[in-house]
């Protein structure tokens, strides 16, 4: 299960970010923020090597001491759910691409995917 889920815009700012241990939210912000370096690097590498095959699976971005950060994974059910939910958000005609995601449906989906904080 995930402890933190973030959706990042093309310009590398967060559209959505949520984590379970809310008391140390900032730490996850830092983690996600720094992992973007890896995403950027991987995407640019993909762009050079194989422009056609857009492999969305970025896999393990990097492990920290406590957690592992994964990039977008399509072959896992977890990420497919997230993707579908994200697609729904994007289909909303009232959603302005680039704005922070405030959809309740999306929020609910993310909650399901999260570790239930006890």
């Amino acid at each position: 299960m995930a402890v933190c889920i973030a959706v990042i815009a093309k310009e590398n700012y967060p559209l959505y970010i949520r984590s379970v241990p809310t008391q140390n939210e900032l730490k996850f912000h830092y983690t996600v923020h720094t992992s973007l370096d890896v995403v950027e690097e991987k995407i640019s590498a993909v762009g050079k090597a194989m422009a056609d095959q857009r492999e969305l699976y970025l896999g393990l971005l990097y492990p920290t001491e406590d957690y592992k950060v994964y990039g977008y994974v399509t072959n896992s059910k977890m990420f497919r759910k997230l993707h579908n939910s994200f697609t729904d958000v994007m289909c909303n005609p009232f959603y302005n691409p680039g704005d922070t995601i405030q959809s309740k449906a999306f929020d609910g989906m993310v909650s399901v995917m999260m570790v239930q904080a006890s």
């Binding site: 815009a9 700012y13 970010i17 923020h33 720094t34 370096d37 890896v38 690097e41 991987k42 680039g98």
Partner: protein
Amino acid sequence: MSVPDYMQCAEDHQTVLVVVQPVGIVPEDQFFRIYKRIASVAQVSIRDSQRNLYIRYRHHYLPENNDWGDFQTHRKVVGLICVTTCGSGKEWPQTSERFHGQKEVFGATLYDSRLLVFGLQGEIAEQQRTDVAFYPSYDDCPDVEKKVEDFVESIFIVLESKRLDRATDKSGDKIPLLCVPFEKKDFVGLDTDSRHYKKRCQGRMRKHVGDLCLQAGMLQDALVHYHMAVELLRSVNDFLWLGAALEGLCSASVIFHYPGGTAGKAAGRNPSAAQGQAADAGKRHRPGALTTNGISADTSSEIGRAKNCLSPEDIIEKYKEAISYYGKYKNAGVIELEACVKAVRVLAIQKRAMEASEFLQNAVYINLGQLSEEEKIQRYSILSELYYLIGFHRKSAFFKRVAAMQCVAPTIPEPGWRACYKLLLETLPGYSLSLDPKDFSKGAHRGWAAVQMRLLHELVYASRRMGNPGLSVRHLSFLLQTMLDFLSDQEKKEVTQSLENYTSKCPGGMEVITLPDGLRLHPVPFTKLPIVRSVKLLDLPVSLRPHKQKGLMENSMSTKSPFIYSPIIMHNRGEERNKKIDFQWVQGDVCEVQLMVYNPMPFELRVENMGLLTSGVEFESLPAALSLPAESGLYPVTLVGVPRTAGNITVNGYHTSVFGVTSDCLLDSLTSVRTSGCLVEVIPSLPRLQLSTSLPRSAHPLQPSKEELSSSVSVQLFNGETQQLTITLENIGSEDLETLEITSKISNTKDGISVTGLPISSPLRQVLKPRAETRPPGSESSKTDYNHVKMLEAVMTFKYSGGAGKVEGYYRDLTLGLHVDVEPSVFFTRVSTLPATSTRQCHLLLDVFNSTEHELTVSAQNNQDLVLHASECQRMAIQVDKFDFDTLPQPDQETVRYTSLKLLEEERLHAQASMINSTLGITWDIPSVRRKGEASVEGVLNQLVLDHLQLAPLQWDVMVNGKPCDCDIIADCKVGDAVPLEVKLTNRSKNTVGPFALTVVPFQDYQNGVQNYDLQDAVTFIGSNTFYIDTVNPSEESLCLGALLFLYSGDFYLNIKFQDDSVGKEPGAGQGKELPLSWFGLPSIHIRAQEAPMEAGA
């Protein structure tokens, strides 16, 4: 070895280490000047061998690191240069002693050493010594570089000899076992004769020789030796040294592949070398082109290259392997860490960021035991730098921030806030945060708000601890301005509170703060505290609006363009903001700008000193202080100011002071503000009139609210009531009033009844001085006969001008609206006439109805008062003299020509009615409310009544006995005397009348309804009883004379019958063809005949 050299790179393996140190007292700056000059000799070409020797200088080196010199020879201090000051010969021995002491420190490994003595002159300085150079002063030492080169050459000689010594040292002698410091105790008691041990010795020695070859510029030899060493060491599982051999291999290959160096920025240490190598890098890749910079007598070079040199991919593989071997030894942490750093630099050159990040990730977890705080900072900084090198800017920023936090860790006794702040500033780009608020004005903020906010908070805190509250205020302002949308209500409160705390010591302003390192912190105007939605310049109030004289307007138009009309708009179609607004402000008058603002804060926002920023004319802004309630909706704020000169004024923005921070908010940079133009013309000053009235002002506007009125007065009146209104005009401006023009206009009531009221006042023109008072008589009355409330409205206009504004052709209008609600008082439901006894008089019967709710008294001239209760109707009879309407002034020809007949008729009727009214003088009085007024019969008069009231145009006068005889007058005469009867006709009509025939018929009235006409024996006529009157021309008279003789006494009446002879003798045409009957109202004559006194007859 505990302190890693984070600056190390692969090519450092080919350098020899020289330590430069001061001995005795050497001024720091002088030492570093000399050090710089020494360090400039970083690469020396060895004359004979065409080989290059690279030198790494250190002014500080831990002797314990020197112990690892066998492991990697570039860690070994082989040269020592001491710098000293020696004032006199006496000090020399001591100095010399110190130099030797210093040599002892690195003694075991030194190949050679030098002492540079400054300041010593004389005998001692004369002596020629190879290891000592004397200079008179720090400024006078031209050949330092030369001396260093010589020194390097001497090192090379030793190095080369050692290399040859070791390289040729074939297995004849017993090869010593080289080892690192921590291994020494492990080998105690080991079997030195075993094959395994020997192999180990051989392997390590090979590796050592490889290092020496690399240092001596024999790259290919080095590669060969490293390969052999790798094989040997691998077979004996000597992992630490195997790692070193592999790293050596990597270093040599890196040096081969990347002659430009891998140090990146640090390459500046030997720029000349880097450039030189880069230039011929291409050559080195071509086989056979080695001789220029290659290794002499290195025959294996061409054959060996392909085989021995690692490919770029292999380099990384081998580095990985080497690091994994190092990782097995806890004490080799520094070596491992340095290897990681070196590999990362290589990967950065290869642009393989992902793999580099793995190496760095590994480096992060290498435990070096207890690190001092300073070392931690250094470590995080270098990590940050390396991440930056591979393009991971965020990660770089992260570590930089960690380093910054480390600077001020609570364990540090003296926290380095300044360093912390500096490092934090360097992290800004990594978090895509710019400190220029302009970058945030475009649209919604997109970024890592939470992280950025944290960083800003840290900047604020660091700058405060640095003792620079101005900086804190600036950062905090920036935080509040740019991150407002992301702050929670609680945070908003906290941030503003601390901002207020800071500004109480150091108020924030609009100046640019320049940091010592040149960073400029732009001012942060609080454009969101409050948020301004629209800016609207307001016109002056109606009464103060200037108007341009018509004639002059055309003049000014014509100056703009030679055409009367042109479809081409003269001014450019510029921005909406630059558009000139089509009203004017007046110099010296308070002008207003309305801002719609709202407060986004969850608490009351106090905005102080809010005023306008203008340009164009001198403008005295009158700042306002406002307090906006929490989360207010749009809230109108009016900013005022007084233009002090005339011209065009532009409102550029506004300034505020919020939480102790003053801001200048320019509209140009506020894209969300709506405005309908900010440029307005200010015209020269005009006088200002203030109007006051004796009646209270009314708020409710006039019904046809087409025009805006400066003020209006409302009054309730009963029909017929009169109210006096005093209007006072006062010039409260600074300019003299030069002209004043008063006009009035009655607007029609809405139900379309034409009001036949009096004009409110006649136009009058007057020149007034300021503070003069004028009282134009204002009175109005109205006459309507309807039973419900009527409204009457009128507008008085005062047009005035003066001062400089008058010269420019401007004037002002002051309008006063009058609103009168007319309530019905009394009115006449019916009117009729009864003839009076006299033909000159008649009785007017009026049915008076009191429509008020009060008891009222109606009185008329010469009449008794009539008391009417509410809603009571009574008849009132008034005896009136008939009217001679002909005396009314006739409308002149001009008016007649241009007015319709109907209107003329109306006017005539009105004039007649007024005459009747004034004669009747009917007034009413309501004692209970003390109101009184007039009542008019105008509306109820009809033609018949008018005819009756009119004096006949033919005036008949009857004289009996020479005395005029009218209705109630009794003419006395004596029986037996002839009574002369005279009938006079005066024609006042416009036409010729007549001829007429008059017959006098006497009769007696018995007062019981019986009239006796049979009086032949009682009265006799002397002459004819019929008179003939010929035609009488207008305004002429005709007189008939006759006489009567009464035979008996008694009361007689004479009835004069009349016959019009002008037309034919048709029966019944007695009244004449056109002349109305009333014209022939001849009086009946009452004659009392009395017995004559007897004395005459007796």
